[in-house]
Amino acid sequence: MKKNNQNTIKTDTLAIEAKGLSKLFGVRRALDGLDLKLPQGAFLSIFGPNGAGKTTLLSILSTLARPTKGKAKVLGFDLNENSDDIRGQIGLISHRSMLYPDLTAEENLLFIARLYGLKDPKGRVDELLDAVELTLRRHDTVRTFSRGMTQRLSIARSLICDPKLIFLDEPYSGLDPHAVDILDGLIAQIRDGRSFVMVSHDLQKGFDLSTHVLMLAKGKEVLFSEKENLDFEAFAQQYRATVGMGVV
């Protein structure tokens, strides 16, 4: 195991390197011996029917759950041994906002900025509020926000530590078109030099954004490929076949 004391990442390390990842829930196998290698800067879209293990995989890779078996390195750090090193460099955007509804937009961001221990929390918060176009509403409580605004703030919250690897857990669910545009724009802006892992039910969107595609069923890999080698129509066909198979 490589000991990496600094927070910087070598460019030749993989964003994700997993070997035989398994997760058991009692006797049910949510994830069954998954291998995965993803280079830095890639955008991985994960597809699969419900219960295929997509969310389980995401929460394991984002250090929120521990695998029953198997090893994984995220950004060159071992998942079990150096989880704090990983945590400082990842962000999670999920369909739940992770915000406190009774605090203002600014307070929410400042809180999380201080928790990460940013050098200049105020400056960073201003910057991000600007980027998600919420500067004018900064002193309003999140409870008064529309779904789209909340989601934008939630994205700003996830980007506060300037993550190298961003996990997206069905980020488009429940968004209004304007929020979708902003999310698209933000992803496009920060795409450079960062890696992404997205779980999505939106086949077209997920496919368009991705550089790599992973399809799961019953915790096992059905397909893992670079997008260049794939044709969308054929891919969609296979997806429907997998979903059909996966419905228990």
Binding site: N7, T8, I9, S62, T63, L64, S83, D84, D85, R87, G88, Q89, I90, G91, L92, S94, R96, S97, M98, L99, Y100, P101, D102, L103, E107, F111, I112, R114, L115, Y116, G117, L118, K119, D120, R124, E127, L128, D130, A131, E133, T141, R157, L159, C161, D162, K164, I182, G185, Q189, I190, D192, G193, R194
Partner: protein, 255 residues
């Protein structure tokens, strides 16, 4: 979008300067941030404080009804220590149940767990905020208890000594209660479950605190001889239980 492009480019630039914006955060500053968040939120909504305060008042009214047929009001002195603790336990159960509702509402706890920080800090900050809110409610309800039930009695000079077991007991309740509230928040039927786990677990503390509080109120020399040992045992319980909770918190909150 156009007008904001300048700011947006800044965000992109930030990405290229690898982690210059992060410094190693001190545990104490994280503790302060978490605590400030809880306090700010509570003073904005006053959810825990008002519900606990009103509930305590209702319990006092029920006490009043329960004693309405008592022949002599003198009898209330030896049991008032127990009554005060019944009041504190029921009120704090209500507050503890709510202490994690904001963390669950939008998955904020998950957001905190994604930050590189010692999980024990979450425990300490949450226990501190729970202690603070409990203390505020007690500061109102215990004088109210005195006003309703003891103001016509001749209480002992040692009454002020009751403050010590109340402080020690409240610290213990906040400590063990925070751990149990973390457990029960992600279970079915969490409200009842917290009571089922909390009351037996806090029994030794209650026993010691009731003994010390009653001794202080009655001022009987025989009871006072137990006062010191009761307070010491309650403090011992606090130390042991809070230490164990602190050690085990990582497992509970990450599960």
């Amino acid at each position: 979008m156009e007008s904001k492009s300048g700011a947006n480019e800044q965000v992109v630039e930030q990405a290229n300067i690898a982690h210059s914006i992060l410094k190693t955060p001190s545990t104490f500053s994280q503790y302060k941030a978490l605590l400030a968040k809880d306090i700010r939120q509570e003073f904005r909504t006053r959810e825990m404080l008002t519900s606990m305060g009103i509930y305590a008042l209702l319990v006092l009214i029920i006490f009043g009804v329960a004693f309405s047929q008592m022949p002599s009001s003198y009898e209330i002195m030896p049991i008032s220590g127990g009554l005060i603790w019944a009041l504190i336990v029921f009120t704090s159960l209500l507050g503890l149940n709510r202490s994690f509702s904001h963390e669950k509402e939008e998955g904020s706890l998950q957001g905190i767990l994604l930050v590189p920080l010692d999980r024990a800090v979450i425990f300490l900050s949450k226990a501190t905020s729970n202690l603070l809110f409990l203390a505020i409610v007690e500061l109102i309800t215990i004088p109210l208890f005195y006003f309703f039930f003891l103001s016509s009695e001749i209480v002992a000079d040692t009454l002020w000594l009751a403050v010590i077991p109340i402080i020690v007991g409240t610290v213990g309740i906040a400590g063990i209660g925070t751990l149990l509230a973390t457990i029960t928040m992600s279970t079915r039927g969490k409200d009842v479950l917290l009571a089922v786990l909390f009351i037996p677990l806090s029994y030794p503390l209650l026993f010691a605190c009731v003994s010390a509080t009653s001794a202080a109120i009655v001022g009987d020399s025989m009871m006072m001889s137990n006062y010191i040992s009761s307070v010491a045992l309650a403090a011992g319980y606090d130390v042991v239980m809070i230490l164990v909770s602190w050690l085990l918190y990582d497992y509970v909150v990450s599960a």
